[in-house]
Amino acid sequence: MSRVTIRESGLFSETLEELLRAMGSAGFFKDGILVGSWVFVLYGSIYGVEYPIRTFDVDFAVPPVLDPTRSGFDLEKIITGRGYLPVTERSGWRKYTREGFGVEFITNRRGSRDGVDVIKPLNITALRLPFLDLLFESPITVHLPNIKLRIPSPESLFLHKLIISQRRIETTKAEKDLEQCRYLAKIIDFSKVTELIRKRQWSRESRKRLEAACEKIGLPFEKVWGVDERNGNR
């Protein structure tokens, strides 16, 4: 599934809907995707699995390198033009807030360098986070009434949550990641998760983390990792 139409309206608050529409019209979702707990609102509508917890902020992921053929636009202006106020962290990461609701951008961290990327063509900054590139694997284009946006496939979000849950320092966030994995496990095609795993090299440490996460949610590791073709072992 790479394209889906949702006829239901009112899934998001009016304010968020207006922002998504403006970002979509400007072309943000050609490269970017909606991530975080708000994606579950759409999964609920597509797959019928409700994850009830929403946060007071919305996250968007942007690839560190944008399509060179795209024309840039001032995304910050689009956001602040809708009454969102910018705030800048010491790291240089700029976030936005309106009536207690936040907007943040994140991007993939290559290597071990923490920090912030300046996404010049869009005039925004994005916090680098590991394994975020997974979310860009086969994203779903969602057509809502008057809004077109992209979200990660449930398989890639599942794998992403599984791996980052074991890298978290804060246990409550790790528990939230695992809880989301439990919900996603009800709707995903595990063979696609295995395909995603096969596409990249995993360090021994990362494999151990995946194994530990599977154990915590009561999922057999082979179901995710698949069978090692060379020796028939997992």
């Binding site: 917890i53 007071f56 705030v87 807030t97 936040g102 804060e170 246990t171 966030k173 939230k176």
Partner: protein
């Protein structure tokens, strides 16, 4: 999922939101501190049968009211910055209200 685990998860989400709100207040205050505070006023003066008008900014400092003349060339910028400061202060109020509420339910 057991009820105890669910409760812990909800508690964790609320604690995260409390932390986010506190951090946001700190960031908003820092942004607001770079902007002028006070209010803009217009003063009319009569001098030798002629009337003059000029703008001044009024604010409190160390317990006393201070008035500062605003040159015409700076008027639009100052007006815009005062409005922006007000927007930041309203946003801070929004988060403070939420912090109070979250602290009450989390019994912090």
């Amino acid at each position: 999922m057991k009820q105890v685990e669910k409760d812990r998860l909800v508690q964790g989400v609320l604690e995260d939101e409390l932390r986010r709100s506190q951090e946001m207040v700190r960031l908003l205050e820092s942004e607001a501190s770079d902007l002028p505070r006070g209010s803009l006023h217009l003063r009319r003066k009569e001098y030798k049968d002629r009337s003059y008008e000029y703008h001044y900014m009024k604010y409190w400092e160390d317990g006393r009211s201070v008035s500062v003349h605003v040159p015409r060339a700076d008027l639009d910028r100052i007006r815009e910055e005062l409005e922006r400061r007000k927007a930041y202060e309203n946003e801070i109020r929004e988060y403070r209200g939420r912090i109070k509420y979250l602290e009450r339910i989390l019994k912090v």
